[in-house]
């Protein structure tokens, strides 16, 4: 208990300290312990878990302390990695990982009160009933990997389906049986097709299978997708999202809470500032994904070629010409204004598309494909592109720090590649399960590496937020409505019954 408590204290201290140092509004002195061996200020403290010693890793100050005092464990305050002097190496255990996670999340929750109410993190512990069910349940391996047969130029379908299969939020939803295709009453239900897809993927066989009914349903619902010609994977992606949303129970047209919107929906904010009077007009638009240009406005290829540079270009202020804007505050005619896009709400899964296919209306007849290599990172911090960050600029106009990094870290889980030209090309994809990367080429699935994936020149890529934050649980409106109906029906039943009893009583009295 002593070691666990010390561990939590150290981790929480470091998390709060980092937040304090990075937040521009709070420029106070940052607490700075010194090494108990060399007296230098510690930039990366290692703390003994059995006494108050703190020291440098370099020069073996901390490891010497452990040897000298026969203490066993010390921890790196930043990463939570625990070093054991008996093993003479860092040791890893799920308990330590869970402890680190819950401590860091607790600090993060305290620091993000500005977000509004948030459900505090609790690890899941099965109840008595749940434990009984779990004891008798058959376990299946949670790695779902199956190739998908090409049904005739359907690689565009296969790569998108693989990105759904490896999407943790979609996977968890369908594996929890949240849309049971045997109970669903819709016909041509794409949501049922998703349920069937996951059933196939997690079945005991792992020979490739053909998603024929998924394809057929897609054709029935969206005629423009039908036919055996090659389609654009991104177009199919958006079509599929809309179809699944439409057939999900409880989906609505405004503020929908279906699995698609919960997973992919974010918001853009567009701020237009009038140069004359400074009035800012803001518009908020919903989005399911982000499409990034590879060329600057003038048509030249970009200088920088990373995901971050594309996002910077996307969110940089641009001047609107005199004719494009008229301010509602200054009564004068149109003048110059500056428009800036930013991300107001980040979804749990971020989908990026690089606009590699340009449709030229004049000049060349055939649309060109832009093959420029774009470097994507294995994880990305989205803070600099958010509305909140842009509104909290620090001194020197540098972008402000809008909250703990943990809120903005995203990890790559799938990449879609396209080789060849626009009309005759082939789609393949990479996807990650936990730490391992695999390459998917229709029915052929092979183990791969991170560097192969990152070097593959992405057309689309998908990132998932590292830590999800939850609103406090609110009963869905359709359940509330149903409960009200049940209460009302029961009341009516009682009234009817009472009325009937009264009739019987009256009849009896009349007879007497």
């Amino acid at each position: 208990a002593g070691i666990v408590g010390k561990f939590k204290t150290v981790i929480a201290w470091h998390a709060r300290r980092t937040h304090g140092a990075l937040h521009p509004a709070k420029r106070r002195k940052v607490s700075s312990p010194t090494c108990d061996t060399c007296n230098q200020t510690l930039s990366r403290p290692f703390v003994c878990l059995q006494c108050s010693f703190a020291g440098c890793w370099s020069g073996s100050h901390i490891t010497d302390h452990l040897k000298d005092t026969v203490h066993t464990f010390c921890v790196d305050a930043k990463s939570g990695s625990v070093f054991c002097s008996e093993c003479d190496d860092f040791v890893f255990d799920d308990t330590i990982d869970d402890l680190y996670l819950s401590t860091v999340l607790s600090v993060e929750e305290q620091k993000t009160r500005f977000q509004g109410s948030r459900e505090p993190y609790q690890p899941w512990i099965p109840t008595g009933d749940e434990s009984i069910v779990l004891k008798d349940a058959a376990t299946v391996p949670c790695q779902g990997r199956r190739g998908l047969l090409n049904l005739g130029q359907t690689c565009f379908l296969n790569v998108i389906l693989q990105s759904f299969i490896h999407n943790p939020l979609l996977r968890n939803y369908f594996l929890s049986d949240r849309h049971n295709s045997r109970l669903c009453k819709h016909s041509d239900c794409t949501c049922c097709e998703m349920d069937n897809l996951f059933t196939e993927i997690y079945s005991p066989t792992n020979t490739p299978f053909g998603p024929t009914s998924f394809l057929a349903t897609t054709w029935k619902v969206s005629a423009e997708m039908s036919g055996y010609a090659q389609q654009d994977a991104h177009e199919f992606f958006i079509t599929a999202l809309n179809q699944i949303h439409g057939t999900c129970r409880g989906s609505t047209n405004i503020s929908c809470n279906c699995i698609i919107h919960q997973t992919f929906a974010g918001q853009f904010q567009s701020d237009v500032t009038c140069e004359k009077c400074g009035t800012v007009t803001s518009t908020i638009d919903p989005m399911l994904d982000i499409s990034l240009e590879l060329r600057s406005k003038s048509g030249e290829p970009a200088a920088d070629n990373t995901l971050a540079s594309c996002l910077r270009r996307y969110t940089k202020p641009e001047k609107l010409g005199a004719r494009e804007y008229s301010c509602s505050k200054c009564t004068k005619a149109s003048h110059e204004a500056v428009k800036r896009l930013s991300i107001r709400t980040l979804p749990p899964v971020l989908s990026f598309q690089f606009k590699r296919f340009e449709h030229k209306t004049s000049g060349k007849a055939a649309p060109q494909k832009i093959d420029a290599l774009i470097r994507i990172p294995v994880s990305i911090n989205m803070a600099p592109y958010t509305t909140l960050a842009m509104n909290t600029t620090g001194k020197d106009g540098e972008t402000g720090y809008p909250g703990p990094d943990a809120m903005y870290e995203y990890d790559l889980f799938a990449v879609i590649n396209h080789e060849g030209q626009m009309d005759n090309g082939h789609y393949t994809n990479f996807a990650r399960f936990q730490d391992e990367w695999y390459r998917f080429d229709d029915d052929k699935v092979t183990p791969s590496t991170l560097s192969d994936c990152l070097a593959s020149n992405a057309y689309m890529c998908f990132y998932v937020k590292r830590h999800l934050d939850y609103k406090p649980y609110v009963k869905p409106t359709y359940l509330v409505a149903r409960e009200k109906d049940i209460v009302r029906e029961q009341a009516m039943e009682r009234e009817k019954e009472a009325a009937r009893m009264k009739e019987v009583d009256d009849a009896l009295i009349a007879m007497v």
Partner: protein
């Protein structure tokens, strides 16, 4: 000669302390992390560490660190190095002016 070196050492410890207390250390480190991530340096190290550890027996973090340290130091992109060095120099200069 040794007097000069020890003077420099004392200064170094002092500047180091001030930078951490000021919070500038954390801010520069944050910027450095994001630049190294964007340049692919961090992902390259992650990939190498993973592939090295696949065939390592016994698996040891210290061994992984040892194998990667020199490559990690030399493969930092020049532009990132320059930018961060400039920021550090700026801070040191400001401290001397005070």
């Amino acid at each position: 000669m040794s007097k000069l070196t020890s003077e420099v050492e004392v200064l170094h410890v002092e500047v180091h302390r001030r930078m951490i207390e000021n919070g500038e250390w954390d801010r520069i480190l944050h910027l450095l992390s994001s630049k190294l991530s964007e340049s692919g340096w961090a992902d390259d190290l992650l990939h190498r560490a993973k592939e090295n550890s696949r065939s390592m027996d016994p698996l040891s973090l210290q061994m992984i660190l040892q194998e990667l340290l020199s490559h990690a130091q030399t493969s930092v992109p020049l532009s990132v190095k320059r930018e961060i060095t400039t920021l550090i120099k700026q801070f040191v200069r400001e401290q001397f002016e005070k």
